[in-house]
Amino acid sequence: MSKPKFKNPVVNWIDYRLPIFTFMNHELNEYPTPKNLNYFWNFGSLAGITLVIMIVTGIVLSMNYTAHIDYAFDSVERIMRDVNHGWLLRYIHMNGASFFFIVVYIHIFRGLYYGSYKAPREILWILGVLILLLMMATAFMGYVLPWGQMSFWGATVITNLFSAIPLIGESIVTWLWGGFSVDNPTLNRFFSLHFVLPFVIVGVVILHLVALHRFGSNNPIGIDVKGKQDTIPFHPYYTIKDLFGLSVFATIFAAAVFFFPNFMGHPDNYIPANPMVTPAHIVPEWYFLPFYAILRAIPDKLGGVLFMFGAIMVLFVLPWLDKSSVRSSQFRPLYKLFFWFLVIDCIALGYLGAMPAEGIYVVLSRLATAYYFFHFLIILPLLPKIESTRPLPVSISTPIITASSNASTVMAMREKK
């Protein structure tokens, strides 16, 4: 090492042998980030922080939880009543799951709006979809652990999805259950997997970050960084922006935990599981509702399951379905319109998933399901053929400087370069 990088000699000594400080300095401090990121770029770091909150509260909850059908419900009630601050920890964990999905869904729609999945960020996107799948599995198994009525019947319904697989379906379901119904072996394995999957998610998140830092963040106008003038160092500019976003998020999160902790849950889950009686109206947690609506929209068992999983699978191939070379919706007037149609469609599916599967709701669910796949499989591949995109700015700096008062002179200076 010719010239020491850090002021602290101990840090230098360690860094020479284990370049952890160089790495952190490179990826978290001087990491060049597009200077035009808006607040939608906060949601990646928010998702990471929420993951940490979930793991930390989950570990302490597991110290007080008993994974046995005779004790699980009571042990959760004991956490609520007797364990010091147990109510707080459980409400943080329970609402944290909902907030995790809120943050991640916004993060995903941000990616859709600004074309963040396009080359060269396809693997970054695919890893993100993989994280979503892992999150869904983890959230589902976590919901089973309190062993209330919704836990039990949610577990029954979701595991029964696999019985739709021809020939081997029944054997797979028996294997998942470890018996002939959802019972103690099921609860035990779900607890084990619910504990370990978040650490798998951490692993994929690290890969997600490695892929992100390869080309850096996309940005609201979706064109590549052309040089140093287009970026600012991550610290302090985006650390402070992320921190501000975090404090707003934490305020809303705390409001939910303290003032309406059961708003996003189901009262039926405070009734102990009863394998003899199914609740009258059984619905999954809100974050699964759009997929649940798709499942129910298809009048065929196997078809419903395939379309439900297809709704996620289609995201994996999204980078190849959308053939437009322009990333950001700001320059794609038609895509922007269809993006908002998709948002409305997803919200509609979520609403329909919560409604009973009868009458007009079935018809609307089928229309909304059809439109979901129509968007990805028909509109996106065809759109570049008919859409005339707006002209892209020369660089990230250009539109910012044009907007300033002395635009013309600066523009002239920049053109000379």
């Binding site: 509260t57 110290m63 009543r81 007797d82 364990v83």
Partner: protein
Amino acid sequence: MTNKNTPDDKNKRDFLQVSTYVLGAVGAASFVWPLINQMNPAADTLALASTEVDLEQLEEGQAITVTWRGKPVFIRHRTKEEIASAKDQLLDGLRDPQTDDERVQNEKYIVLVGVCTHLGCVPLGQKSGDVKGEYGGWFCPCHGSHYDHSGRIRKGPAPTNLEIPQYSFLSDTLIKIG
């Protein structure tokens, strides 16, 4: 000073920075405390913290062991000789000097937490056939601590006398521990 604003601005910035750090630290600590405190005894554990024992059937020379907060509590109905030997013991040379009167409420019954003060083993001496050590009280087999009829440490590595739990006599023969 020609430029009055500069040091003022610096003071403002310092104030903002310090108050941000302090509030951040308070916030972090208030989140960390529940994570730590959940490992302390829960309300239902604390609620189980007392035990009642009827001593009517306990004859002179006999001892019983009861469970209190998951630990053994030794109760021995001492003989006259044992009481006398405990009372006559001079405090000189005791590692943890205490008179027998300080250690009993009713001199017939000695009540002790049956956990050796060395490293937490349960001493022998409750059953009639047990080794009672050189002083006739209790003997810890783990590392060889000898206790006398008052449960005082006399020989071996234990630093203090056997602990006396909180207890009270509800009647002559009914005792409530905890």
